[in-house]
């Protein structure tokens, strides 16, 4: 299994990292909180931790800490636009249930 990015998401991540001027890739993870159990974490990564799982998708390095991997393995990250709003979207096969806003979920 792995974590993948759509080509569109990868392009945006590459642009953002280039504009930011530093960073080795993207860190994806989950945290326990929110209205429905777990919440996603999406951050720039400045360095890989020794126990990180690493994936490369369309030229973007994705780092996932071992604690989070169980919840999100097989997930795809996409970038979409909804009206004036635009941003990243997770397609997570592990999700059984999510809250109305989709910001948190249960496995």
């Amino acid at each position: 299994m792995a974590i993948t990015l759509t080509e569109k998401a990868a392009k945006h991540v590459r642009d953002f990292i280039a504009k930011r001027g530093k960073g080795v890739g993207l860190r994806i993870g989950v945290r326990t909180s929110g209205c429905s159990g777990m919440a996603y974490k999406l951050e720039f990564a400045d360095a890989a931790e020794s126990d990180d799982a690493q994936f490369v998708s369309h030229g973007v390095t994705v780092l996932v800490d071992p604690k989070s991997l169980a919840y999100i393995d097989g997930m795809e990250l996409d970038y979409t636009r909804e009206g004036l709003n635009e941003g990243f979207k997770f397609n997570n096969p592990n999700v059984k249930n999510q809250c109305g806003c989709g910001e948190s979920f249960q496995v």
Partner: protein, 630 residues
């Protein structure tokens, strides 16, 4: 699902705790709104892709209000009710304005005080009644707020609004009031030159003195700032409130009149020539010459070629006037050009090569121009707003204390719910809502814990207190807001408040008390080593909690409406309840889930009967006509 943005390392916000904050450049001619997304400050465009909102508000006789381009379009048709450059009136009385005969508005002076002296702010009489500059500005801010909320997909926690460095208390207060009226929480007012300096990252640069040269549409400001220990201090300001890019357009228009031997034109032709003049000015930024062609209402044809050199010589004295202001500002600050470490260019008119060249020559250094001069103030304000809202961007920001371990409370089943994540900067405050678990529950025990683990038993207990006197309600109906507040000294204050009745309880704790660095390290390591175990433990707890809730609900239903069941219907339900109770003893969350599912299936018919009964009860004694009215 909601769309996410990339955060800086360690700074992801919890769901529903996104701290959306914007920077607003509330300008004399144009206004903009910007925010930090994916770690970068960006200006937010409207649905037509335009970043700049003309600061023009029109009040129509039918009380409708239009703002921006639409208002600007009718400006010459309805000058009395179309307010432009309202910023010039903010916090001003009539006596402050000077020559009002040149302005098309019907002014009302502010009510005078007992001494007969006019005080407070003027008002404008419009087709929709008297309006204060604060109200007019709030209309502009409302449009920007709506744009930001549409673009960010949520309510704003606050905004940083920029004001000229020379604004006095009355003008600043008026700006704050306008924001409040527009429903914006002002995190801070920020001086425009400081915002521009922040956009260029000068606050991270070495200490020193910087000059900000701001040539806008109709105003010119020069500010001399000193940066020391991350704080900007305004040393001197100067400028000309009646000098801007529009004056350059006017010079070209006069040149056209002269070239073609024209004298006074009607308002329509004047506007036409000004539009062409502006286009020519913009062309000359990129090109050495430009051709201007227009047909006047008289049928006369204008066709002239203007070179950059000609434009520079005709606008030379305008540029010289800005340099005079520079000299005065430096004199006030008791500094020479050699003391200036960097020069920031702000305002669309600074795109003109002759301006950049003159400023560069004056200071003996190349001015900073790589950010869009129209947007740079809003971009800087957004960076400041992001910082103040608690979304700290990068470790090069002001050094602040952080919370070493997450703080949270115990929820049903012995699980930890984190309220303040570790590495949050202090001071900070976060709130989350919880509810009651049982019908008629009147008290709630709040157990404050610290740590990264999923189970309360693996975290450190900090304090316990009880919220009593919750009005009896069905489970899940009470809304209890738990607020964690950590002050600058690291003191934690936890309060719980039932939102319906307003009853409240709180406790003060010192969270870092008694924890050594080694203990903190161990607690962090534990949390990753036990990841898989914690995940299963969490799943088990969640299933157990849900199963208990289900058992309780079914038991309650059987007691209340057991008589609805036919003989033989009750037994399968009870058998599955027993089966579920048995699986609860096993540490297998999947088995519990299956048993709970089976009980759910078994009670489907019973639930239908209960529903029918309550519908029948609700309809008894009502006429059909009463029901049809809904």
């Amino acid at each position: 699902m909601a769309l996410l943005q990339i955060s800086e390392p360690g700074l992801s916000t919890a769901p529903h705790q996104h701290r959306l904050a914007v920077g607003i450049d509330l300008g004399t001619t144009n206004s903009l709104v910007a925010t930090v997304r994916n770690g970068i400050s960006v200006v937010l465009n409207d649905e037509n892709g335009r970043a700049m909102l003309p600061s023009v508000v029109r009040y129509a006789p039918d009380e409708s209000v239009t703002v921006g381009e639409a208002a600007q379009a009718v400006q010459s048709d309805d000058p009395v009710n179309t307010i432009v450059s309202v910023k010039r009136f903010m916090g001003r009385g009539l006596k402050d304005i000077g020559d009002i005969s040149r302005l098309p508005y019907r002014f009302i002076d502010a009510p005078s005080t007992g001494s007969g002296q006019a005080s407070g702010m003027l008002q404008l009489r419009t087709a929709s009644g008297a309006k204060s500059p604060v109200e007019v500005s709030s209309e502009i801010l409302k449009v920007l707020r709506a744009r930001a909320e549409a673009a960010l997909g949520g309510d704003l926690v606050g905004a940083v609004i920029t004001v000229p460095a020379y604004f006095d208390d009355a003008q600043r207060q008026a700006t704050k009031d306008a924001a409040k009226l527009a429903g914006l929480n002002v995190l801070r007012l920020l001086n425009e030159p400081t915002a521009a300096a922040i956009a260029y990252g000068l606050d991270n640069a070495s200490e020193g003195v910087y000059a900000v040269y701001d040539l806008g549409g109709g105003t010119f400001d020069i500010s001399i700032l000193r940066l020391s220990r991350g704080v900007f201090e305004v040393l001197a300001t100067n400028g000309d409130s009646a000098l801007g890019g529009d004056d350059f357009d006017h010079r070209i228009q006069c040149w056209l009149l002269e070239k073609n031997g024209l004298s006074a034109l009607g308002p329509r032709d004047t506007r036409l020539l000004l539009t062409h003049a502006r286009a020519a000015k913009e062309q000359l930024t990129e090109h050495d010459e430009t051709r201007i062609t227009a047909v006047l209402s008289s049928g006369d044809v204008i066709d002239n070629v203007l070179t950059r050199a000609e434009f520079q010589s005709m606008s030379q004295n305008l540029v010289q006037r800005t340099l005079q202001s520079l000299r005065r500002a430096l004199r006030d600050a008791k500094l020479g050009t050699a003391d200036i470490k960097g020069v920031v260019m702000v305002g669309g008119a600074t795109r003109m090569p002759q301006v950049q060249h003159a400023v560069g020559e004056f200071f003996g250094q190349v001015p900073l121009t790589n950010l869009d001069p129209d947007k740079v103030v809003a971009l800087g304000a957004a960076i400041q707003a992001n910082l103040l809202a608690g979304n700290r961007g990068g470790d090069e920001w002001l050094l602040l204390d952080v919370i070493p371990l997450s703080l949270g409370i115990e929820t049903m089943g012995g699980l930890t719910e984190k309220i303040i994540p570790r590495n949050s900067t202090i001071p900070t405050a976060r709130a989350q809502e919880f509810t009651t678990f049982r019908d008629g529950q009147t008290a709630m025990s709040i157990h404050v814990v610290q740590g990264e683990r999923e189970l309360v038993s693996d975290c450190r207990s900090l304090a316990k207190f009880e919220l009593r006197g919750i009005p009896a309600m069905v489970a899940g109906a009470a809304r209890i807001r738990v607020t964690f507040q950590v002050d600058a000294d690291g003191l934690l204050n936890v309060s719980a408040r039932e939102m319906g009745s307003g009853i409240e309880a709180s406790i003060a704790v010192k969270p870092s008390y008694g924890l050594s660095d080694a203990e903190i390290t161990r607690m962090l390591q534990d949390s990753t080593q036990h990841a898989q175990h914690d995940m299963l433990a969490r799943a088990l707890c969640e299933q157990q909690t849900e199963a208990n809730q289900l058992l309780e609900a079914v038991q309650h239903a059987l007691e209340q409406d057991g008589d609805l069941l036919e003989p033989g219907e009750r037994e399968p339900i009870e058998a599955r309840m027993a089966a579920l109770r048995d699986t609860l003893q096993l540490a297998d969350h999947l088995a519990i889930k299956r048993a709970a599912g089976a009980l759910n299936d078994a009670t489907a018919g019973f639930a239908q009967k209960r529903m029918d009964k309550s519908v029948a009860r609700a309809l008894t004694g009502k006429k059909i006509s009463d029901l049809g009215g809904e």
